[in-house]
């Protein structure tokens, strides 16, 4: 009888520091992944948590993990050669076929950049797949900016706008202000041919989505990715249910026509 809760051991190949609290882990794992999907990551005796896959390739997956709790505190002590236990992948990822030939705008807040990282890399390598790609990313402070190297690479491939909510330390040469400001100013030449992905904290997603709708983007052309407590990842434990939807099954990537109607 196949047991859906059995994790497998995946060796850590590489650890990269992104910020003081965010680290990217590359694991040796042979998995079928669609960008936006997640895995259940665990350390026996410590616990298990859902983490989105931030990038993947032949025989490896990457996750960018913020130190926020019991499990992630322990994960942050791991080094290459150690391993994590994982099971998955779970949930629905981004429907790439819906973005082909369109102007794609990705709006990401904070760690929300992780679930869309694979998309940015994918379109960087296949520039013809979408008509254009724009990344709008907002972080709390300059110290919270993730994927600095990748962002520089993406700047050469796509339009990239970065903003920070505040610049406490001073000396940040870029924009200061909320991401909704970026959206409001973003030149959108053909709203009817523009598709949008919004990923980030709940408030950021809510107001960013509203801003895009204000800019003339159709609801059916907006996708969001929900973050929820997901203990099982397979529609059993009930924690991620909103209205009639299980985020682990129907999400975490949801079209706004569905997501906008869900009420907690």
């Amino acid at each position: 009888m196949s047991n859906p809760y059995l994790p497998f051991r995946a060796a850590i190949i590489e650890v990269r520091r992104e910020t003081a609290v965010d680290f990217t882990y590359r694991l040796e794992a042979d998995m079928q992944v669609a960008g936006g999907q997640f895995v259940e990551v665990s350390i026996p005796g410590v616990g298990e948590a859902p983490i989105s896959v931030s990038d993947f390739g032949d025989g490896w997956i990457e996750m960018t993990i913020r130190r926020v709790g019991r499990l992630t505190n322990v994960i942050h002590h791991l080094r290459p050669g150690n391993s994590l236990f994982i099971r998955g992948t779970y949930g629905r990822g981004f429907p790439l076929e819906r973005y082909a030939g369109k102007d794609l705008i990705i709006a990401a807040g904070g760690t929300g950049l992780a679930p869309v990282k694979s998309l940015l890399n994918r379109y960087g390598g296949n520039p013809g797949e979408v008509k254009s790609l724009t990344l709008l990313a907002g972080f709390k402070t300059p110290a919270d900016i993730l994927f600095r190297d990748e962002i520089e690479r993406w700047r050469r491939q796509h339009r990239v706008e970065i903003t920070v909510d505040r610049d406490d330390a001073g000396g940040w040469p870029g924009r200061v202000g909320l991401i909704t400001g970026l959206i409001a100013r973003e030149p959108i030449s053909q709203p009817e041919n523009t598709v949008v992905i919004v990923v980030g904290p709940p408030a950021m997603m809510k107001f960013s989505t509203l801003e895009f709708i204000k800019r003339g983007i159709k609801q059916e052309n907006i996708w969001v990715s929900f973050e929820r407590k997901m203990c099982c990842g397979i529609g059993k434990c009930g924690h991620c249910k909103i209205d009639g939807a299980y985020v682990c099954l129907e999400g975490p990537v949801l079209n706004y026509t569905t997501a906008g109607r869900l009420m907690d």
């Binding site: 809760y5 059995l6 026996p44 019991r70 499990l71 992630t72 434990c237 009930g238 009639g244 099954l249």
Partner: protein, 337 residues
């Protein structure tokens, strides 16, 4: 086939069955109730029919037999893990018609929802045979007729306790055993056809009721203790929990434990963000699942109308009344269109 058995012959059957089965039934435990001087009726392993509580409703449902309150999923050491077995024995459950219907609902979640089978649930569930206790009369808080769960199918034995003995309708391979101990009899099955408590299920519930004042009223009453979900035979939520042994921190277990959408922390993510902090919103969420969300997925309602949640609520919140209030709100909404 129907058989008549006195207590001794029924115990003869139980004795034979016990060789290959663990038998669970509602048992009355004197003085163990929630309030002083009250008794608790809950499911326990039994060896004789005289231990079974045939008259009173059980406070907890038999779901814990197949979906234990705490269940070990993996035992692990530093290097590897092992999956615990569930033993060779079958499981016999004495329960009411509503409870059999409740298992059908648990089956939807654990065996079908999302297309993946929960192997731990299935392993125990496949062992279960139901011995249904006929409801001679409805309890005050029951509303099984409204929910269409007053009748039970899928049982092996249907039992009526009467005249110091037991009249049993037996299906399948157990007939041989009953024939050995009992005498042939005539039996027509009786089900509850009317409850004192009645609910009217709204055909559809839209979000217009989500912001209604009734939820604030529940918020002021509900203390988020989760008793309603613990006693509910169809609540199936759980949380993963890892523990390690104090005397050997390199060894431990991954378990699942019952969780409740009514209790603090149900939606809390690492970092602290949570949803439905308001107790009234939790009541709404639970109600919607029981009478609408589940139906949209599986075609029938999750609630079986056993009324246990109403029996156990320390704040005297009636779920049946809440359903009727939502129904009235929806009817009002239709009239106002």
């Amino acid at each position: 086939m129907a058989y008549w058995l006195d207590m001794d012959s029924f115990n003869g059957i139980l004795k034979e069955l016990s060789a290959d089965n663990v038998v669970y039934a509602p048992v009355k435990m004197t003085g163990k109730g929630a309030f002083s001087g009250t008794d608790l009726v809950a499911y326990r392993e039994i060896s004789g029919v005289e231990q079974i509580e045939f008259k009173e409703k059980s406070r907890f449902s038999p779901k814990e037999i197949v979906f234990p309150i705490t269940q070990t999923l993996l035992y692990f050491t530093e290097e590897e893990y092992a999956v615990p077995g569930t033993g060779e024995k079958g499981i016999i459950v004495f329960c009411r018609p509503c409870d059999v219907n409740a298992f059908k609902r648990l089956d939807e979640i654990f065996l079908r929802n999302g297309g993946r089978v929960d192997s731990y649930y299935r392993e125990l569930r496949e062992k279960v045979r139901f011995f249904v206790i006929e409801c001679a009369e409805s309890f005050d808080s029951c509303f099984c007729v409204s929910m269409g769960t007053n009748r039970a199918d899928g049982y092996d034995v249907f039992i009526r306790a009467a005249g110091g003995g037991f009249l049993c309708d037996v299906r399948g391979d157990l007939a041989t055993l009953f024939e050995k101990f009992g005498g042939p009899a005539e039996m027509s099955l009786r089900f509850i056809e009317e409850n004192k408590t009645k609910v009217s299920i709204p055909e559809s519930v839209d979000q217009s009721v989500f912001g209604h004042g009734i939820w604030r009223e529940y918020a002021s009453r509900c203390i988020a203790c989760g008793r309603c979900t613990v006693s509910c035979p169809t609540c199936s939520c759980f949380t993963m929990q890892d523990i390690f042994y104090e005397d050997n921190p390199n060894r431990g277990e991954r378990r699942r434990v019952w969780a409740s959408c009514m209790i603090d922390g149900f939606t809390a993510m690492a970092g602290g963000h949570g949803f439905r902090e308001d107790h009234g919103d939790r009541m709404r969420f639970k109600l919607m699942h029981k009478i609408s969300d589940f139906r949209k997925r599986f075609g029938y309602n999750m609630c079986v109308g056993c009324g246990r949640c109403d029996d156990v609520c320390p704040e005297y919140i009636s779920f049946a009344r809440a359903i009727n209030r939502v129904d009235a709100l929806m009817k009002e909404a239709v009239e106002n269109v």
